[in-house]
Each structure stands twice: as C-alpha cells, then as structure tokens.
Amino acid sequence: MAHTSDRYYIPHGSPWPIVGTVALLLLMFGVASALNGAAIGKFSMLAGAVVLLFMLFGWFGVVIKESVDGIYNQQVDRSFRMGMAWFIASEVMFFAAFFGALFYARQIVLPWLGGESNNFFTNFLLWPGFEGTWPSNGPAEIGGEYKPMGPWGLPAINTAILLSSGVTITIAHHALKAGNRGMLILFLGLTWALGLLFVGLQATEYAHAYHDIADGGLGLTLGSGIYGSTFFMLTGFHGLHVTLGATMLIVIWFRCLKGHFTPENHFGFEGVAWYWHFVDVVWLGLFIFVYWL
C-alpha cells in the first residue's frame, strides 16, 4: 500500500449482489412458506442461508482484497465511513420503533385501558377493575402468571460486561493507531470474548425467564402480554445485533492477525467499532427503560 490511486475506484461489474438477491429470495420465500406450514419452506430457508453466507464471504472477500491491494483512495474510504454511519442511523430508527411501542404502551395504552383520559367506559364496560400499571400482560392476562425481569443480577452484570467491552475496543483502537500489535490483538480478542460472554449470559437469562414460576423461573415468555412482547423483542433484537457485532469483531480480529490494518488505514476496524458502540448505547437504553424503570 505504498501509494493509492488518485481516481475513485469503480468496479466494472460484480456477481455478488445478484447472488445476495437470490439468497434473499430463497430465504424470504422459505420463511414465509414455513410460516404457512409448507414443507418446502425449511429447505428454501436453508438454501437461502447457505447462499447468503457464500455471498458474504465472496463480497467481503473481494472488498478486503481490493483494500489490501491499495486500490481504494481516501475518497473511497470516506464513502465507506459515511455509508456505515448512515447504516447505523437506520438501525437506530429500527430500534426506535420498538422503543416507541414500549413507551406508547406504558404511557398511553395501559393507563387508557385502566380508564384514564376519556376512556372511563372502555374500562368500565370492557375491562372492569383493570388497573393499567407497568408491568402488565394486559387486562386478559395473556400468557398467564409471570414475574418481571429485575435489573440487578444478570442484567447489571451484562451492563458491566458490555461497557467494559466498549473500553477494551477503544484501547485496541489506540493500540492500532500506535502500531502496538500485541495490545491490539489482546484487547480486540478480549472485546469479542466479552461480547460472546454477554450473549451467553443473555441466553441464561432467557432460559431463566422461560421456566415456570413453579420451577423457580419467571414464567415470562414472548407471549406474556405487552410486557413479554416488548421485553423479548427489544432484548432479542439487541441480542441478535450483539451476535452480529461479535461475529464482525472476530472477523476483524483475524484480519488484525493477518496484518490487514495500518495505523492510517483501518476503516474495517473502525466500522465494526462504531457498530459495537451503537450496540452498547442501545443496551444502555434497554437497561434503563426495559429492566430498571
């Protein structure tokens, strides 16, 4: 990477996007058919997932090769940065929809079902005696008896883990910029290890939640009314994003081992770091609004 091009790199044709398109067709058709109970669904889903993985390896492989070959100039680098930043912005809005549902349910739906505002008769005629307090699985107590998930214990430990991983990735980034390879690999490795630990603990927490109260669990499921819905959808999508983020961290860890990044040129690392911080911030929102308040 002695010198980079002065021209903006435009690839002339690429097979990977259409492979990704085929993957999405198989995957979406598969999931939809499976939900309809069609036997073909599972196979199509599996085929779609395989093709999607093939596409991810192929597409990222090409981009990494081009990057290592020094084809990208600074302007291309800026495009990647902006693209990643706006992708994260769209992800923020995806979570905003579910946070919005949580706030709307807590602040408006439940009080109204309890008769507040101009809803006296809704309460009196449809749900007499229902008090709209949080947490709730609704006036019909959908999902049966459950206990809410408290913030202290595992969720607090998970908060500490995720926040620490935000620190370790920053240390790794400074090490990368200082050219300190040993520190970079150690702290980046620590970061994805903490990420995986978080996912593992989250799985433990889910298992605990799903056990019946009689078995010492919480009896809390996705079907536990609006509380269960918002709890599992928010933490579930967050967990998926942590898994994705940890996978990305592992990929760039291997790239660090191979020496792909230089102190000046390491968008791949920074993009993943941004994503990791985004996942971190979402968790703080979850910890405060889903677990604590």
Binding site: I10, L24, M82, W86, N137, P139, S229, M233
Partner: protein
C-alpha cells in the same frame, strides 16, 4: 497502484449481454433498470386501478366480488407506491445525480446493484400473493391490524416483501447521501447543487430515518400473528391504534419521499424553459428541509378519528397547517421563476406547469383534511382519495413524466416526438382531472372509500370518474410508444438539448457515454 486496478480502469467499454444488467455497477445502467421496472409496475398497478374503476362504473356489483375488490385497492396502492413511484424517482436519481454533481458514478456501485435487484424479488413475493389461498392482502396498503391479521397465506409474503422493499430503499438512500456528500466535483458547493440533487439528498435522509420504522411496524405484525406477542392486542395490554402511530410515523415522511424529488425535477425544468435562474434558490432549499422536518411531527393527522385527546388533535392540526408555509414558498418561487421569463412550452414544461397547478389543488385539499373538525366529515371518504391522488398522479407521476421527457434526449441521444409528447400531455392532464376531480364531490357527499358498491346518488360522478380513468390509463400506452420510438431513433439531440438548460449534465454528449466525469470537472 496495482496492476489489477490498471486493468479495471482501462476496461471502459460496456459489458455486453445479460451480464451487463445482472452484474451492473454502472449508475446509468442501474438507473435504466430502475426506470424500466417502475414502468412495468406502473402498468401492473394501473391495471388494478382499471379493475377498480370498472367495478365502480355503475352502482351494484358488476365484475368482481368485494373480497377481490379489496385486494385490488390494497395491491394497487402497494404496487404504485413501492413499485412505481419510488423506484422511478430512485432511477432518476441514479441517472442524474452523478451527472449533476460531476461524479464518475454512484459512491457505492455494488450496493447500488443490490438495491435495484432486491426490488424485482420483493415484487415477485408481493404479486404472487394474488394466486395464493385466501388471495392477496386486502386490508388496505396501511395494513392496519386486526384486519390485516386475517390475511391468508399471503400475510408473511406481504410482510417480507415490505422488508425487502425497505432494505432496497435504505441502501439506495445511503448510496445517494454518500454520493452527494462525498462525490461532488471540486467547486460544487452545497448551495451550488441543482435543486434535484438537494431534494433527493433530503429525501434520502427521510428514507433512512423512516423506512426502518416501517420494518419495525410490520415485524410487530408478524410476531403478533405467529409468535404470540400482544403489540396490537388490547387484551394483552397492546393497542391496534399503536400500529397506526408507528405506521404513520413512517407513512407521513413517506408521502414526502414521493413528492420532494418531483419538486426537484420541476425546479430543474421551470428555469430551463423560462430561461431564467430559479427564483429564490436558497429559500427553496430551506423550504424543502423544513417540509422534511415537519413531516416527522404531523403523522397523527391521518388518525384524527381514532379517539385522540384534544391536545393531540390540536398539536397535529397546527403542525400540519405549518407545512403549507414552506410549500407555499415553493409554489410562489416556481411562479416567480416564470414571471417575465421567455417561456416556451415543450412537453416537460407542460407537465411541470400542470404539476404546479394540480399539485397545488392536492395541497389545498390536504389543508382541508388537516383541519381536525372538518376531517371528521372527510375521513375515509372519496375526498381523501381525490386529495392524495392529486398529490400523487398530477403531482409525483407528472413530475416523473416531466423528468423523463426532459432527460430522455440526454439518455438516448434522440429527441422524442414533440407532437406526440404534447398529445400525451393533454390527454393525461385533461383526463386526470376527469378522473379525480369528481371524487371530491362524491367524497364531500359522503361516499366511503374502499367499498365496491355505492348509493345511487353517486352514480353520475362515478361514471365520469371511470371514463376519465380509462382514457388516462390508455393514454399511458402512448407514453410507452413515445419512449420506445425515442430509444430507437429520432432527431439527433445536441449536447445542451434545451436552449435554456444549464448544469453539468448538459455538458456531456447526448447520449451520455457509459462513463462520464472520470476526471472531475471544475465548477466555477
């Protein structure tokens, strides 16, 4: 630079055959594919509109059963919004934004390919639902629960189709933002950018912020249906109205997503044919940004009748009224641009002027609908149908058609047939009014939308409306013929094409070569 890079740069001829299209990374090729796809969807959705108008030609049930009628109203809207209008605008952006800012291509060419090719997949998933058990979705394009949860096998296909359309839009929008922010030629300052570029930049921000919310909303529908969640189930502490809030938080920005780029097109065309610079360029930019901002805080004006507290109704009424201010700025600026200009009325200008008049009608009826107490009367009547069709057909669609006529010579290197273009314009402009203007009357008199039958007092106006729709629909075949013959041949277009045309896109030859501005032009 490595040798592979040299090889890439020197390989300048267009790839041939099917690979040119499925492996495409060229913004012009991808733009063309977007426009062709949009055209196909325009006629698919148009055919559904014809079925709707045929059924409504007379009172009583004639051709289709009510269930199928509902499928038609739902699919017509989904196909037109996500299949025709949005892809057409993205196609125009793909073609024109790099040319207008002096960029060699879109910033992320491979992702550009993916953004496009996801669309046909989404369309296949969506349109295939017509042939499934229980039929296509029939709950209206707004997909309100609990009705939408009664959809048959089509339900998950609807949801995933919407997800894919959203992915495509978000990736397309990111590409446009990055192209505009990072790929401008030296000297092309932000406030020197053509208005089409500005409106698309702001639209792209709207897409990035609004589409994920739709994805969230339909995901909640999916889990409510299949995984036992209670987001929209009052018995479990949820609320069907909550869906409407989440949906319209996306839905209102969405309507500006469809109109702002059309504003941009008109802002390019009117100065060209008035042979005067755009009046109030800066205020146009600020007005567009203001509309975009306001579009995020007005959503509940679609739901005045669901039982909101008074304070909510007042807030959403006033914030809605406020949109008339920046929109008014734009309308007066366009008018002032024409004032004392050396006007000529070629087809693009005719469409742009018709846009100005007819979109304004749609804007005014929107103001009427924004008045909460009045909306209680208008809600879910044909007045609403008339309103949004005035903003979308002589608004967005006329904007797109104006843009196609305006830029067609640049794309093909040939002038289109001006006589036929004018004929197409007059047929469209007259019959769009014959179609939609009477719907104001039947709506004010109380005819509900999305119903296949109606009381006999609405018969006359409905028949007029249907006749208008048939002629308008048939006229669009003329549009296809004009484009086709322009692609095949015709009078050679000059580099500048139009006498009053200014901007970088008019400095490249007609037809625009496969690669343009590989060395960035200098903008004074």
């Amino acid at each position: 630079m490595s040798t592979t890079a040299e090889a890439h740069h020197d390989h300048h001829d267009a790839p041939s055959g099917i690979k040119r299209w499925i492996f495409a990374t060229n913004h012009k090729d991808i733009g063309t594919m977007y426009l062709v796809f949009s055209g196909l969807m325009f006629f698919t959705g148009g055919a559904m509109a014809m079925i709707i108008r045929a059924e409504l030609f007379q009172p009583g049930l004639q051709f289709v059963d009510p269930g199928f009628f509902n499928q038609m109203t739902t699919m017509h809207a989904l196909v037109m919004v996500f299949g025709a209008v949005m892809p057409a605008l993205v196609g125009l952006a793909n073609w024109m934004v790099p040319l207008m800012v002096g960029a060699p291509d879109m910033a992320l060419p491979r992702m550009n390919n993916w953004s496009f090719w996801i669309l046909p997949v989404a369309a296949i998933l969506l349109v295939s639902t017509l042939f499934m058990g229980g039929g296509a979705p029939a709950s209206g394009w707004t997909m309100y629960p609990p009705l939408v949860l009664q959809t048959g096998d089509a339900f998950p296909f609807l949801i995933f189709s919407v997800h894919l359309l959203g992915m495509s839009s978000i990736m397309g929008a990111i590409n446009i933002v990055v192209t505009i922010m990072n790929m401008r030629a030296p000297g092309m300052g932000l406030l020197k950018m053509p208005l089409f570029v500005w409106t698309w930049l702001i639209t792209a921000y709207l897409l990035i912020l609004a589409m994920p919310v739709l994805a969230g909303a339909v995901t909640m529908l999916l889990t409510d249906e299949y995984f036992g969640t209670s987001f929209f189930n009052a018995a479990g502490g949820g609320d069907p109205v909550m869906f409407q809030h989440v949906f319209w938080f996306f839905g209102h920005p969405e309507v500006y997503i469809m109109i702002l780029p059309a504003f941009g097109i008109v802002s390019q065309i009117i100065p060209t044919f008035a042979r005067k610079p755009l009046f109030g360029y800066d205020s146009m930019v600020y007005a567009t940004a203001s509309i975009a901002f306001l579009s995020f805080i007005v959503w509940a004006h679609h739901m005045f009748t669901v039982g909101m507290p008074l304070a909510g109704q007042l807030f959403f009424m006033f914030s809605t009224m406020l949109i008339a201010v920046p929109t008014g700025v734009k309308v007066f600026n366009w008018t002032a641009t024409m004032w004392k200009g050396s006007l000529t009325f070629e087809t693009p200008m005719l469409f742009a002027v018709a846009f100005l008049f007819l979109f304004t009608i749609g804007g005014f009826s929107g103001l009427m609908l924004g008045i909460t107490p009045a909306d209680f009367q208008y809600h879910d009547t044909y007045f609403v149908v008339a309103h949004f069709h005035y903003t979308l057909v002589p608004g967005a669609v006329f904007g797109i058609m104006a843009g196609v006529y305006f830029w067609l010579p640049k794309w093909t290197g040939h002038m289109y047939n001006e006589k036929l273009g004018k004929l197409h314009f007059w047929l469209s402009a007259i019959f769009v009014n014959v179609t939609f203007f009477p719907q104001h009357f039947v709506g004010l008199a109380g005819m509900p939308r999305r119903i296949p039958d109606y009381a006999t007092q609405f018969a006359d106006f409905n028949m007029i409306s249907s006749i208008g729709a048939f002629v308008f629909g048939a006229s669009q075949l003329l549009f296809v013929y004009i484009i086709w013959s322009c692609v095949r041949g015709g009078e050679k277009a000059s580099t500048q094409v139009w006498e009053g045309a200014e901007g970088l896109e008019w400095t490249v030859p007609s037809p625009a070569p496969h690669h343009t501005f590989e060395v960035a032009p200098e903008v004074r």
